[in-house]
Amino acid sequence: MAIITVSHLSKSFGKNEVLKDIDFCISKGEVVCVIGSSGSGKSTLLRCMNLLEIKTSGTVSFHDKEIGGSQRRVNEYRSKVGMVFQSFNLFNNMNVLQNCMSGSRKVLGRSKQESKTLAIKYLKKVGMAPYINAMPAQLSGGQKQRVAIARALTMEPEVLLFDEPTSALDPEMVGEVLAVMKELAAEGLTMVIVTHEMAFARDVSDRTIFMDQGVIAECDVPERLFTNPSNPRTKEFLTRFIAS
């Protein structure tokens, strides 16, 4: 049963067509990694799924209901689909705990106590609970990203979207963030991950999507996609990646 279904999705910025007629769905418990070179439309696809970008045509459905129309419905949908950004986007005016409680309190309307309990539960999971009093500016990149993951988890979303979560981090910090994401994958959280970490994509994904010039060039289980891709573009991309 598909949670999110994307059909015939197209997106243009002016005359530049970034996404061309994308069809794609994600089922409960699935981990889908999206790979591809920069500018292939990976991030735009993810942002369209959360309606941060406004699609040019096509539909995005959540449990077979099309998303759109009133802002209230869009917001309700977003509260069920978490997002983790490349640049963390933690609220600079709140400390770690307040960041994690904000959505739970202000969007879901949970009590202060309940929000705090949940926030701490998820901060413990990402190993950031001792830092509840820190401000985002006082944390390293890897720590910020782990807090951002905890903030998204505190909303207890059905799906979590990751937009290049490790691209702004140095190699040492990449490891700590990927470890958290691996754990989440193992627990059965539904995730869509746009990434440049090939080894990670191969290890955690149930399906891997290779995007090229705004289309899904190939979609397969990682075992086949990484070792024996059917599309020559996938092969080219992967060889270059392994070579570098």
């Binding site: 959360n50 941060l52 406004i54 759109g68 129309g69 009133s70 802002q71 869009v74 917001n75 309700e76 949908y77 977003r78 509260s79 069920k80 978490g82 997002m83 950004f85 640049s87 963390f88 986007n89 933690l90 609220f91 600079n92 005016n93 709140m94 400390n95 904000s102 959505g103 202000k106 969007v107 701490i120 901060l123 413990k124 190993g127 609970a129 001792p130 830092y131 509840i132 009093n133 820190a134 401000m135 006082q138 903030r151 998204a152 909303m155």
Partner: protein, 246 residues
Amino acid sequence: MERGIFYWIGFLLQEFWPNFWKGTLITIQISVLGTVLGFLLGFLIGIFYSTPAHPNDNTAKKILLRFEKALCLIYVNVFRGTPMMVQAMIIYYGLRTYGVAITSFIAAILVVLLNTGAYMAESVRGAIHAIDNGQFEGGKAMGMSHLKIMMSVVMPQVFRNLIPEMGNQFITNLKMTSVLNVVGISELYFVTKTTANIYYKYFEAFLITGMIYLVLCTLASQLLKLLEKKMAGKNEYEIAAEYLVQ
């Protein structure tokens, strides 16, 4: 024998200190009330002005938004583009001739408020633009409405960044109230003028008043510095030891 400056300063202070005191109080009242209310107005208009039109909005809402923005634009332009003294004359005497009689105190506050609001609206708009788009997106992705993002994420940051600007505005207002003597309000400048007239001691009387303005402005800037320091928060944070994993 000719008596010196210090004699006359001492004399004026001794004889007329209640006048100076009352004038100072009125100056403080007008500038504090006018500034604080003006900040509120400026923040409101700044927020209105930077509300994005949403593609899902219906036509009526879009037209309303346009209308609001046009109204804000006109207001800001009118009040930034005319002298405070002229505004005071229109609001106090002008309205009076058409039967709207307000006291000179209310008129003075109104002028300060509307001026501050116009300048602050522009500063607030700029400060909202300066906030990283990621702050908005972080909120949006959680399902926060634009208003919630503004109130709980953006405006606290904007407010902190605007404290130096608010300090400027407050100090300007403290001094600018002196032009409001044209509507016959007995603020510090007006009081000084009448006091100086009695003995023709302009130099001495205005020296006293200059000192009072200087002290007021210095105090105001120190207060705002204190507020800025407080808003900046601590440099260090405490590790929550109870959550440390052994």
